[in-house]
């Protein structure tokens, strides 16, 4: 039997190890939390899920091609927004890796214990479990961040079950087209909001200067040949120690305390 390229890819993944690989890929996006890995991982995951469905349910190649196209366009839009963000994309999670790992393991163990046994019609239990797992990882991404970039990835994962079941359960309704348009529109909206994001705080650093010396008028670092020593800045101790706050001057070798700050964006 002649297989389409989509079905060939699906045949590789529609095995026990292939399904486990896809499930691990979904979990790795949450755990690693790195925007490049999220792009690559979600693209592989969504294309893989689409191929598995095409193989197991004999979806027409045109529908699968449409799914692949919308996935690739959506991921490209998100990737381009991250690439062209003027000061670097904000992707910080509201949790560290330990909490993310705990959340994932809690989800897994809760699923294991409760075992709802939900099964989509015409889909096997393993397929259904994979789709639900991908959607749960998407929800976890959405709940752990306010970053539009990762929210976009989360929404794409959340759309994976709809993308898979629509052409199987309602083959003649053209719902796959709507789901594809929805993926592109959501990715476009998230990419737009990513580009509109303000400069990340992590990319700002403090520039310190003495109180009586403006930042722009700091003395040149080049050594001067004058015999007169350069004026030393007045050192004021913090008010925490009022008894020691007598006027004092610092030696040139002493580090200068932070008395006036300004914020400058890193180029």
């Amino acid at each position: 039997m002649l297989m389409t390229p989509f079905e060939l890819a699906g045949a590789l993944l529609a095995t026990g190890s292939g399904i486990l690989f896809l499930a691990a890929l979904a979990a790795s996006i949450v755990l690693i939390w790195e925007w490049r890995w999220a792009l690559v991982g979600s693209a592989l995951l969504l294309l893989g899920v689409s191929s598995v469905t095409a193989t197991l349910h004999g979806i027409p190649a045109l529908i699968t091609a449409n799914q692949w196209l919308s996935i690739v366009v959506g991921i490209l839009l998100l990737g381009l927004s991250a690439r062209f963000h003027p000061t670097g994309i904000v992707t910080r999670a509201n949790a560290n890796w330990l909490l993310r790992a705990l959340a994932l393991s809690f989800l897994l163990s809760a699923w294991w214990v409760v075992d709802p046994g939900v099964r989509a019609p015409l889909f096997s239990q393993v397929e259904t479990d994979l789709l639900i797992w991908v959607a749960l990882c998407g929800i976890l991404l959405l709940s752990l961040t306010a970053s539009p970039f990762f929210m976009g990835i989360g929404f794409l994962l959340l759309l994976a079950p709809l993308q898979s079941i629509a052409p199987v359960l309602m083959p003649g309704a053209g719902l796959s087209i709507f789901v594809g348009i929805a993926q592109i529109l959501i990715a476009l909206a998230c990419a737009y909001l990513t580009l509109m994001q303000s400069a990340p705080v992590a990319n700002q650093h403090r520039v310190t200067a003495p109180l009586n010396t403006p930042v722009a008028a700091q003395p040149s670092a080049a050594p001067t040949q004058t015999t007169q020593p350069s004026p030393r800045p007045v050192f004021r101790r913090p008010a925490l120690f009022p008894a020691r706050s007598a006027p004092a001057t610092t030696a040139p070798s002493e580090p200068q305390p932070e008395t006036q700050t300004s914020v400058e964006e890193r180029a």
């Binding site: 015409l122 929210m151 309602m170 529109l185 959501i186 737009y192």
Partner: protein, 481 residues
């Protein structure tokens, strides 16, 4: 429906051509956003009145220049057909009226140059969703997927003008509105498949139970009760008030219409599942959470959002016992909600324009300088809680009475929760009208005063004579009942 097919030009071609032209013109002429907005508001209002008064028993419209326009002729593409019918015409008129309000607000307060174009685009989308009467499968199974597209388009409207926008704000609220339709669309597809299995084995009750559970759960998710409510209070805080007003009312009206269509098409959702119990419980939780959360709000926009959430919870609760009486109450509450939200949005837009922020700390003594708009904020917000002498009072009182007849405890719980939100508005009023440090030197312009006074007059008129809505609700019941 015209039984002999289209006689002349289908009216829907003209309607969507008008929407397309209005979108393009509003975008191209965005440099004159105020004039474009005002013209658009007038056009939308006229169209709303015209659609509302259409007599579809005479579907052929003979043009004076010759030629006919068929008002009921469907337009079809790829198996999907749109048609104007007596049951969906009132909903279209309501969309147009809401769009007119939003355009007027945006024009008066110079909200966003691209806002009029976005309003027309959203209006065209929601109109198409409502007019959808035919599809390769049942239209209600496809509608949630279309709602995802419209909600995704609404993100741009909620974000607002990229030049004026404060980029450091939390913008996730606009995106989180996507969560309910995405989750619901999957359930509708699965439920639709089960519905198609019913004729194969009509005696098997498990099929109808499975279909009813999935579809009922889908409608429940679309209604976005607690804990899926998060998008709207967040959007009320971070988005411009006209945009929040437009997108939230469009979405909620579409969901209510979809719920009525689903319940009418699949009555087994009510008979064979615990849908009504879940809806009642979640509606009660939503109303209570809206009231409780409003107590601690320190942002006037978020306070408005929580008040609207409390009101929405009551609407969801009223839906729990579907029937003609229930839909009458739901539509009455929704009409009053529109008036109250519009009044509050008028005041909030003016204050935000003058102070640049709706943080409560920034609003100290603003009531002494902008009394009319401050009064609009308070009266509109309190209307959402059903406070006496506000627009929402009659609706809330009727809902609590009908609820108390069945069980007095939920009615009492909602009344107590609404006191919490009222306290939030009392706190806001103390800040606004207290003689404290006068930080702001903002003043109301004559235009904003006239708009605020008009909104206040409408609110007080509705508060004192709520029977004004009788005709509107009777007509709209044709679509929902």
């Amino acid at each position: 429906m015209n039984p002999v097919g289209a006689v002349g030009l289908p009216f829907l071609y003209l309607l969507f051509a008008f929407f397309g032209a209005a979108t393009a013109a509003s975008y191209l002429l965005r440099a004159w956003s105020r004039n474009v907005g005002l013209a658009g508001a007038a056009a939308a209002l006229l169209l709303a009145v015209w659609v509302w008064s259409l007599d579809l028993s005479l579907p052929i419209w003979v043009l004076p220049i010759g030629g006919n326009v068929d008002l009921e002729a469907p337009i079809s593409f790829a198996g999907y057909s749109l048609q104007l019918m007596a049951v969906n015409a009132p909903v279209i008129a309501l969309y147009l009226a809401i769009a007119a309000l939003a355009l007027l607000l945006g024009a008066v307060h110079r909200h966003d140059a691209a806002f009029p174009a976005q309003v027309w685009l959203m209006l065209a989308g929601y109109t198409a969703l409502t007019l959808l009467v035919g599809a390769p499968t049942a239209p209600v199974n496809v509608a949630p997927a279309l709602l995802i597209l419209l909600t995704a388009l609404g993100v741009y409207t909620l974000y607002g003008d990229p030049v004026q926008a404060n980029k450091s704000r939390d913008i996730s609220g606009a995106l989180r509105a996507l969560l309910p339709p995405i989750l619901a669309a999957t359930l509708f597809v699965a439920g639709g498949w089960w519905v198609e299995q019913i004729p194969i084995n009509p005696q098997d009750l498990t099929i109808t139970q499975a279909a009813g559970t999935l579809l009922g759960l889908g409608v429940l998710l679309l209604l976005a009760p607690f804990p899926l409510h998060g998008a709207w209070p967040a959007a009320s805080e971070s988005s411009p008030p006209p945009a929040t007003l437009l997108i939230s009312l469009f979405y909620q009206l579409a969901v209510l219409y979809l719920a009525s269509q689903t319940l009418a098409a699949y009555p087994f959702i009510l008979r064979q599942t615990d849908w009504a119990v879940w809806l009642g419980a979640l509606g009660l939780l939503t109303a209570v959470w809206g009231g409780v959360a409003a107590v601690g709000a320190n942002h006037a926009g978020r306070l408005w959002g929580y008040a609207a959430l409390h009101d929405w919870g009551l609407i969801v609760l009223a839906l729990a016992t579907p029937g003609l009486r229930s839909w009458t109450l739901v539509l009455f509450l929704f009409a009053l909600r529109t008036v109250s939200m519009m009044t509050a949005a008028v005041g909030l837009s003016a204050i935000k324009q003058q102070t640049g922020s709706l943080e409560m700390e920034q609003m100290r003594s603003i009531g002494l300088r902008m009394p009319w708009n401050s009064a609009a904020v308070l009266l509109g917000g309190l209307g959402l809680m059903g406070f006496p002498l506000t627009a929402g009072f009659a609706g809330h009182w009727a809902a609590l009475q009908s609820l108390a007849i069945v069980d007095w405890r939920p009615a009492m719980t909602i009344a107590v929760a609404s006191v919490g939100a009222i306290l939030g508005f009392v706190r806001l009023a103390r800040l606004m009208f207290g003689i404290q440090e006068a930080r702001s030197t903002a003043r109301e312009s004559a235009l904003t005063i006239s708009v605020a006074v008009s909104a206040l007059v409408i609110t007080l008129l509705v508060a004192t004579t709520p029977q004004l809505f009788s005709t509107l609700i009777t007509r709209a019941l044709a679509a929902f009942g």
